[in-house]
């Protein structure tokens, strides 16, 4: 292979798309730790930090942030290429809540002081963030959240409980949706608060999931005192900011990368199970592949909107539903052809590419998190189709 020159970070966005794709491939080949390719489970900070620090060192950590804040300033279409290539190479997710969620929020809504304090610490890996949105009784009905923050002098005092705080045990900061006005309409009394996890009164408890992994946690707040300058945006306007992030999350969750990865592994599994030439399998595979291609086409129409500088409407929920349900159908098919291997806890033959059960189990929560698919369908019927009620 001809050596491809990897330009400095500031020049990446001006490359032609195809050239950029080749640069990303060369970059991964040169820098990504081989032993972290296609990990069977979500990695903890202790496992993924070498890669996080490598990205930080090379200036590649935050592809979507503007260059003035230390990002690559990539256009949405380049971010998609980058994501596709990461997925193809089997790059593990890092503890990326600061990069993907909190950073863009602070850039958009934060004060100058917040930008100067928080953004560089994400870029160096000093702050690892987690997200505190859901609560035991505020899941699909997120706006019903009850964790409250009461102003007491220069501090907010936070009490309550968050759940599904992904990788909270690895994080040293958490961004929270908190109730700051109990009398307002439920969406109008919510604020966005940044909390140092070392503050007294915070307890993190891991939740073991169906994968026997402790990716999710519950996090308890008992009279936690938070400096009031850690409020982002206006008081009681947190819901609108969170919603802006959620629509970004939906296009991320609607990206065909998960299905694409699963589909390529389905094919490898079919070859290993000796059913690749079986007409029954071929028909199932064809259906899945066609749906995948159509999902990509639909996804590209949303990306094109972003490229034109338009913001995404509620119809982005379609992507999340179609992608996650396709991901599930592909992994269902994996189990159908895997025979007795469909019950194995570890990838069959120790081969991560044949990890049917791991993929199947990981596909389960995809239709639950990021706004369950039931909620996405509510959004589509009410906000896109204008159904009454």
């Amino acid at each position: 292979m001809d050596a491809i020159r990897i330009p400095p970070p500031a020049e990446l966005d001006s490359l032609e798309d195809e050239q950029f794709r080749h640069v990303v491939r060369a970059f991964l080949h040169a820098n990504y730790p081989e032993e972290l390719r296609n990990p069977p489970k979500r990695l903890h900070w202790s496992e993924n930090k070498p890669w996080y620090f490598k990205l930080a060192e090379l200036g590649w950590l935050c592809p979507g942030w503007p260059q003035e804040f230390g990002g690559l300033g990539l256009s949405p279409s380049k971010i998609i290429i980058l994501t596709e290539e990461y997925e193809r190479y089997g790059v593990a997710r890092t503890n990326d809540h600061g990069i993907v969620m909190l950073g863009p929020l602070v850039i958009k809504y934060g004060t100058e002081a917040q930008k100067q304090f928080f953004l560089p610490k994400i870029l160096t890996g000093e702050h690892i963030w987690c997200q505190g949105y859901s609560e035991p009784n505020a899941g699909s009905d997120l706006a019903a959240l009850r964790t409250e923050a009461v102003l007491d002098g220069d501090h907010y005092v936070v009490n309550g409980q968050k759940i599904w705080t992904t990788l909270a045990m690895d994080a040293n900061w958490i961004f929270l949706l908190v109730r700051t006005d109990k009398n307002a309409k439920k969406q109008e009394g919510i604020s966005f608060l940044l909390v140092d996890m070392k503050t007294p009164g915070i307890t993190v408890r891991p939740i073991i999931n169906l994968e026997y992994h402790d990716e999710f946690c519950e996090t308890f707040f008992d009279n936690v005192r938070v400096p009031k300058e850690n409020l982002v945006g206006q008081l009681n306007k947190g819901w609108d900011m969170a919603k802006a992030l959620l629509s970004f999350e939906r296009i991320f969750l609607g990206s065909p990368r998960q299905s694409g990865y699963a589909l390529s592994r389905l094919k490898l599994l079919a070859e290993r199970m000796d059913v690749a030439e079986d007409p029954t399998f071929q028909e199932s595979y064809a259906r899945l592949r066609l749906e995948f291609e159509d999902l990509k086409a639909l996804y590209e129409t949303f990306v094109a909107k972003l490229k034109r500088g338009e913001s995404l409407g509620p119809d982005v929920s379609m992507l999340k539903v179609i992608q996650t349900e396709l991901f599930q159908k592909i992994t269902d098919c994996m189990l159908e052809i895997a025979g007795e291997n469909a019950g194995l806890l570890e990838p069959m033959e120790g081969n991560r590419n044949l990890n049917a059960t791991g993929q199947f189990i990981q596909a389960r929560p995809a239709t639950i998190y990021g706004g369950s698919n039931e909620i996405q369908r509510n959004i589509l019927s009410k906000n896109v189709l204008g159904m009454p009620g």
Binding site: A338, E340, A342, T367
Partner: protein
Amino acid sequence: MSAALDDSDRQDSIRMVRESAAAVAPVGGDSKRIRDLRMQMPGFDPAVLRQMGDLGWIGLRVPEAAGGAGLGLGEMGALAEELGGALAPEPLIPASLSATLLAAAGAPAELGRVLSGESLVLTAWQERADTLEVPGGRDAARRFIPFAAGADAFLLPVREGGKLALYWQDAAGASLTTEQTYDGGHLGTLAPAPGRKLADDIGAVLEQALDDAALVTGFYLLGGAERAFAMTLDYLKTRMQFGKIIGTFQALQHRAADLKMQLALLRASLESAAAVVDAGATGDARRAAISRAKTRAAEAAMLINRQCVQLSGGIGYTDQYDVGLYLRKAMVLSNQFGSANLHRRRFIATAPAEESDA
């Protein structure tokens, strides 16, 4: 004897079996026993297996003359359904399979210890994934043996001169590797070693016994799906979001109704297949009935369990919530004794032609 029972006697007999199941699988019992056994070896409680022996369950299908209860697949299915609802991990289905072979082989001493649950004897018949064929290679590794680490001995079918002979191989000294399964159990791979011959020709009995095990596995899946669905209905009827019980949302009501229909089809399919076998069907008619039911069992159990996790939301994806235990069990059992794909193909190959007016 089972074929001779009339319908009302049969229903009484099935009811008695269900009631006896409460000894091991109490209705509404908690999951602590099941959880504590996960990822441990041998993954089940040998004392409970002995209790199953005492209750006559391991020999439920073995003829009375050989020391069994001589009951039918209707009774065995009902029992498996109860155990599936309780997620009992004890390898009753593989142990009964071996009991049937030992009875046919005329090995009363070995059979006696199996029937009492003192010994766990597992039939090591399988050489590749997703098959009901038994090549009987003398040296071929035997794979996917459920709970193999708990076995005292193995039965190995070995092809000799066009017939399947049956050999006995002690577990002590055997070369056995195991792989953990998602439900907390394990599957073993055994390297065959020279053993003691028990019978010269076990082929026809084994073929039927594997089919019976497929059907009984379907009943076990039914019991699990019923229980997961019941838990999910409770959740839909009590969980509040948006100021309402979520079971008042019509979209969720329809999903629950769809699952109920799958459960009804699953039960009807299994019970009618058991009735066909108990009425004495043989050959392709028997194979077709069982393949129809196992196809439905694999597909409906996976569908229902997946949906139960989804309808339970985030809590459904946690290890602490029991609904997920049923999904994991279904992952392990749906393809045992043949996947839906295998049984669909076999159904079409063996089913009598559809009647037509033309």
